[in-house]
């Protein structure tokens, strides 16, 4: 399947140009901090002004932040494809999320604790349901194909992308808006700090041994994918596969690792045995997220279209790995995005440069 359009919203802004700028500029300290019970934690939150878009968010006054991020990214993916005519009845939506609308869930719990069971907010409840974001996407964009929300923690996005490919192959949809969204709030920052440890300087140091500290992030990434390469596709998704440490990865020219401190021991990344020429981890640009793979995938897609290799923003602490330390124009054909979980299982997304004469894999 081919990536025809991409939408992204993260702490550095909105859209492909914001992603490109972030990749060129490298790491910058996060601008926001979450206050939780007298403690302050750096987090990569989406600036409020980036979430202002009356046209796209029309009719979503009661929607929560998670849904707004998702709708903006999905809408941008559709617009970015520059396809003026797609059959929206045959366009599907798959939303991947690690933790869903937990901030709204806690708002709903506030209602129970503050006002009692009989006086809780129906709006908070209906927005706390995991598939609220997908519903807003289908309503905002008039998309009426199959609409699904899935969660598989660290592998949520990969499962969604694999399914999008299946839908396209079997003809359940002609186009699929597939993406991921997660939010960071006060309680999640507390949990992240307690379980993973948040880096005080806001800097994720991928591959650091014995453990990388996390810096929670939030945002949304969506892709418009199709079997056909209408327009100017970013790249082709050649494969989505799941495996375990030790299985040989594909000999891609560049491996993007989702090393972001979410796995307590990131030795899986450092010890991977793929014969890749170069590796990078861009998580310091958007923060630690269960759906971080979607952001890596966006970076990979952009690199394949632009034919630029971007420096890994925080290359230190990566002994034994050939980490990209400079940004330069260079031919890139194949990029793999690799994520490990706590059980040393991995998920690999294989992206390939689109060429006019190469047949599209089914």
């Amino acid at each position: 399947m081919k990536v025809l359009g991409m939408g992204i919203i993260f702490n550095r802004g909105r859209g492909g140009s914001a992603l490109r700028d972030a990749l060129r500029q490298g790491w910058q300290p996060p601008l926001s901090e979450v206050q939780e019970k007298g403690r302050s934690h750096p987090v990569y939150q989406v600036p409020t002004d980036v979430l202002q878009d009356r046209a796209v968010l029309k009719g979503m006054r009661r929607a929560d932040r998670l849904s707004k991020m998702a709708v903006i990214a999905a809408s941008d993916a559709l617009a970015d494809s520059e396809l003026t005519e797609i059959d929206r009845r045959r366009t599907g939506v798959i939303v991947a999320t690690g933790c869903g609308a937990h901030v709204t869930t806690f708002d709903f719990l506030d209602g129970i604790l503050d006002f009692g069971e009989a006086a809780v907010s129906p709006t908070a409840f209906s927005n706390s349901v995991h598939n609220a974001a997908a519903s807003y996407i289908s309503s905002a964009l008039g998309v009426q194909g199959p609409t699904l929300t899935v969660t598989q923690f660290l592998f949520s996005f990969q499962g969604a992308l694999q399914l999008a490919g299946a839908w396209l192959r079997e003809g359940s949809a002609d186009h699929v808006l597939v993406g991921a969204v997660d939010q960071c709030g006060e309680v999640m920052a507390y949990i992240a700090n307690a379980k993973l440890g948040i880096a005080r300087d806001g800097k994720i140091r991928p591959f650091a041994s014995p453990s990388t500290q996390a810096v929670p992030g939030e945002g949304a990434v969506f892709f418009l994918v199709s079997r056909n390469g209408d327009g100017r596709p970013y790249c082709e998704v050649k494969d989505v596969r799941f495996g375990v440490r030790g299985e040989v990865l594909v000999p891609a020219e560049l491996t993007i690792f989702d090393a972001d401190g979410m796995v307590p021991d990131e030795l899986s990344y450092a010890s991977h045995d793929a014969p890749a020429a170069a590796v990078a981890a861009y998580s310091p640009l958007w923060g630690s997220m269960m759906i971080g793979s979607a952001f890596s995938c966006a970076a990979g897609a952009l690199m394949l279209r632009d034919q630029v290799r971007y420096a890994s923003p925080v290359p230190a602490g990566s002994d034994g790995l050939n980490v990209l330390s400079e940004t330069f124009d260079y031919s890139v054909e194949l990029i793999q995005c690799v994520r490990y979980n706590c059980s040393a299982e991995n998920a690999v997304i294989l992206l390939q440069k689109c060429t006019a004469d190469r047949p599209v894999s089914p």
């Binding site: 403690r39 709903f108 009989a118 809780v120 997908a134 998309v143 609409t147 299946a166």
Partner: protein
Amino acid sequence: MMNDSILITGLGSISAAGTTVSESVLSFKNGNRICGPVTLFDTSLKYPVFEVRHIPSQFHREGLRTISLALTAVDEALAQSGLLGTVQEFRVGVCLGTTVASQLNDLEFYRAYRTSGSASLEPVDRYLKGNLAEYVAKNIGARGPRLTVVNACSSGTDAIGVALSWLRNGICDIAIAGGADELSRIPYCGFGSLGIMSVELCSPFDRDRKGLNLGEGAGVVVLETRESARKRGATADLFLAGFGASADAYHLTAPHPEGVGLVAAIRKALAQAGIEPGDVAFVNAHGTATPENDLAEGKALANVFGNNVVMLSTKGYTGHTLGAAGGLEAVFAALGLRERWVPKCAGFRDKDPVIPIAPTDRETKIAGRYAVSTSLAFGGNNAAIVIGRGVDQ
């Protein structure tokens, strides 16, 4: 062309209607409706619920009730399919739908955090290890794809649709699919706030219906390619013929009043199955017993199948089990085909004059070979599956 390449080699269920499939059949036969006040948590609300009274001890996981329910149904389905203990020898995927198990919504954790700024992380650990598909896959040794579908009340049906896609695309050879959900205080309060729960026993499609009763349970099917079943010598009388899904793109909580999304989903499922509406023997409808759902669904079913379709909702026996509903109702639809009868739509008394069709008012014999099961969800998701029964040998 008839699509019978994906077999159903196992069924498993647990709900207020019974701890096993056969117990559920008995409840349907006898018209048992085991519904009462909430006993699983303290609440000031008075809406009756359909609780599962007994989970076999070998499947009980402390603090993980949804998973306990799922493991119970999965074990029964695997036993029927002949896969119990041998799952790891095959390419088996697990796709399960849920709502409650996907949410970090532990009230006591949050209360403690809110009060003191510190809380035990035990509920968080439980949440993190409790991803439904992941937990079940690891428990049974499945090594194929895993995905937890969180599509609100259509999650179970959608999960079966995902599994069908996996099988047809060669992503796995066998898939365990369906849904599970426990009764939880959070949606109990949430549905209460929406004003769609009844203080009486629910009465799907009835003229005087007043709303839904929540329930809990798990319903699971084992799906398998014909080739995989042949290789291991398994036989099956049922197959999953088609799946269709469509979004209303209309409203966050209300279905489209004419059920346009549901019509589209059913037509897709029928097309995938390669059959016509007239081939369908009966429909196991979503039928929550809320005024809006039953009206929209009744109109949609009449639109597709005509006014004489045999139709029922089994929620009068189980309550609305949310993410489990699609799984349970797929199992019950399959049972209807296999047993060649469907039960009375429990709770139904009088036809609603504004709904063009009426559900079964007695046990009804079934002659055809296809059944449809439908699900509607928050967010305007609609999903339908077509189950077929093989030609008599």
